[in-house]
């Protein structure tokens, strides 16, 4: 897939992707006697290291599906496995990025990045000591281009920087899957394109599995190896479309005939 050499892993161990299997997953919300089917019969196999976009309008169950994989919601039907293991509750093997960066405003960027390792140390699941963690935090901040901002508080960072800090915070716990819930939806168009560039580079570097929820066709085609189009009544995955564009992908690829062809197919699937 990649034209150039594989990303070096010498200076820090790369995280590795896990495969994700959704098997006819369904979820119904009951509130005040009303039943709302959020998602129904959703099946999807995502290979290790693959980047799949879940695309659909509001209320198509894409966020619900992502939260089920995260372990924040239990499915009523079907099963979810990550790396062969059934999902049971949230865990650091599945990083989650939200529409807002969700940085902890009382912590500096560096301490935000260190939140995961320190929380895991408190839980007894991370044995590393402070100097080791500090080195890891510094390396991760450098990777996302925030070397000079370890001591800055979130409110001192620009929108794009906040998202990069959130990315660093999620990656420092070495997840095998990254779940992204419309992460760049609130950014301006220019910053957003830069974040696409950033995400693609990071994905090439870390080689982890990414499930990316969006309602933007262009974004889905730009980023994904495949696009899972969601919608319908009851809501579910309607069609999974391959994106046969080259990797590593470049922003200019959005201007190619091939890109437009895929976009047309996706749009048709959405309208169907």
């Amino acid at each position: 897939m990649a034209d150039g050499p594989q990303p070096g892993t010498a200076e820090r161990p790369s995280a590795h992707g896990a495969h994700v299997v959704l098997d006819s997953v369904g979820k119904t919300f009951r509130r005040a006697g009303r039943r709302t089917v959020a998602v129904s019969g959703a099946s999807l196999q995502v290979a290790a290291g693959e980047l799949v976009c879940l695309l659909g309008p509001s209320g198509c169950g894409k966020s619900t599906l992502l939260r089920i994989i995260a372990g924040a919601l239990d499915p009523d039907e079907g099963s979810v496995t990550v790396g062969g293991q059934p999902v049971a509750g949230p865990g650091p093997d599945r990083g989650f990025l939200f529409q807002s960066p969700m940085l902890f405003p009382w912590l500096t960027t560096r301490k935000n990045v260190l939140f995961g390792p320190k929380a895991q140390r408190a839980a007894g699941t991370d044995e590393r000591d402070d100097p080791e963690l500090d080195a890891e935090a510094d390396a991760t901040l450098a990777t996302v281009g925030l070397s000079g901002f370890g001591d800055a508080f979130p409110h001192e960072l620009s929108g794009g920087m906040q998202h990069r800090a959130a990315f660093a915070r999620a990656m420092v716990t070495r997840p095998s899957v990254l779940l992204m819930d419309e992460p760049f939806g609130a950014l301006d168009a220019i910053t957003r394109v830069r974040m696409h560039e950033f995400l693609l580079r990071m994905w090439e570097r870390y080689r982890i599995t990414i499930l990316f929820v969006t309602h933007d066709i262009e974004e889905a085609v730009m980023l994904g190896d495949r696009v899972a189009v969601m919608g319908g009544r009851p809501p579910g995955i309607r069609e999974v479309i391959d994106v046969p564009l080259r990797r590593p992908r470049q922003l200019a690829d959005a201007d190619t005939e091939q890109f437009l062809a895929v976009k047309r197919r996706v749009r048709a699937a959405l309208a169907a």
Binding site: G89, M102, A119, E156, L179
Partner: protein, 301 residues
């Protein structure tokens, strides 16, 4: 190096050669952005100093107007001058007033003690009640109407009741503060906890935090600035309650001192008492504001 520090990436060969780093327009390098951050912080510090200086000038202006007015008026009972007030303050700071009473520092100590005991107890109960209301819908629906009924009542309305129930010792004064503080703290705590986004806890959980760790280090920590803001509101209310009850039903405290001085037409001492309250209130509020700034870095300006 570009602003995103792709330099470290290009070494790994991931960066494609077509997009040379550091050449995109309008995107300064890492060092420039760092310098911008430091400059911004320095400007914030300067702005704060300027604001403090302006505030001090305002207070100095008030004192100057007061002094000039007192000198023109020439009536020590109606309006003593600043210097007379300071003289009375210094005189009675260590000497009892009235003769069989207590010195000013002791009255200040008594008032502060009542406030702090009542404040700490009230905040503890109020925050606990707010946390319980936020955690349990049943508790919320049970307690909410009680608080809504009590909250608009001025605590001072309870004074006769507390004197009948609890006598004229220290307890009724402390209870008065507690009764004023609890509903405000309960309401602000509920609001602060409700305001923490559900996803912030999920975020902590996906980073490997246990449910308990996320509750303590994220949810409660996130509500802290709101709770501290509630405490500042309560502290101001506590001062008006305590001085009022000391004016009416006490034999010590700054309110009592002011009342006595007024009865004997020692207006300068009345002013001295009022200014003592102002300064003590300012010191306590500054302390709380300092805590708030520690808890919420975005307020450090």
């Amino acid at each position: 190096m570009s602003g995103w520090d792709y330099g470290s990436l290009s070494a790994t060969g991931v960066l494609d050669a077509r997009a040379p780093s550091g050449q995109e327009p309008g995107r300064g390098d890492d060092l420039a952005e760092r310098a911008e951050l430091l400059a911004h912080r320095q400007a914030t510090r300067r702005a704060r100093l300027r604001r403090l200086a302006t505030g001090a000038a305002g207070l100095a202006g008030l004192l100057a107007v007061w002094q000039v007015a007192a000198v023109i008026l020439g009536d020590q009972v109606a309006l003593p001058s600043v210097s007379q007030t300071v003289a009375q303050f210094m005189h009675y700071l260590g000497r009892p007033y009235p003769a069989q009473g207590k010195p000013l520092w002791f009255d200040l100590y008594i008032s502060l003690r009542r406030i702090l005991i009542g404040f700490v107890a009230g905040v503890t109960i109020g925050v606990a009640a707010g946390a319980a209301m936020s955690a349990s819908r049943v508790v919320r629906h049970l307690v909410d109407p009680v608080i809504e009924v009590i909250r608009p009542l001025p605590p001072l309305a309870f004074i006769p009741l507390f004197i009948v129930w609890l006598g004229i010792g220290e307890l009724p004064k402390e209870v008065l503060i507690i009764v004023g503080v609890i509903p405000v703290m309960a309401v602000t705590t509920v609001a602060a906890l409700d305001e923490v986004p559900e996803d912030l806890r999920l975020c902590a959980r996906t980073l490997g935090a246990t449910s308990r760790y996320a509750l303590l280090h994220v949810q409660i920590r996130s509500a802290l600035p709101g709770i501290l803001t509630g405490m500042r509101i309560c502290m101001a209310g506590a001062w008006s309650s305590i001085v009022a009850v000391e004016l009416l039903a006490a034999t010590s405290g700054l309110g009592f001192l002011i009342m006595q001085a007024g009865d004997y037409l020692n207006t300068a001492l009345v002013f001295a008492g009022i200014i003592t309250i102002a300064i003590a209130g300012l010191v306590l509020d500054t302390g709380l504001r300092g805590l708030l700034m520690l808890a919420d870095p975005s307020r450090r300006r």
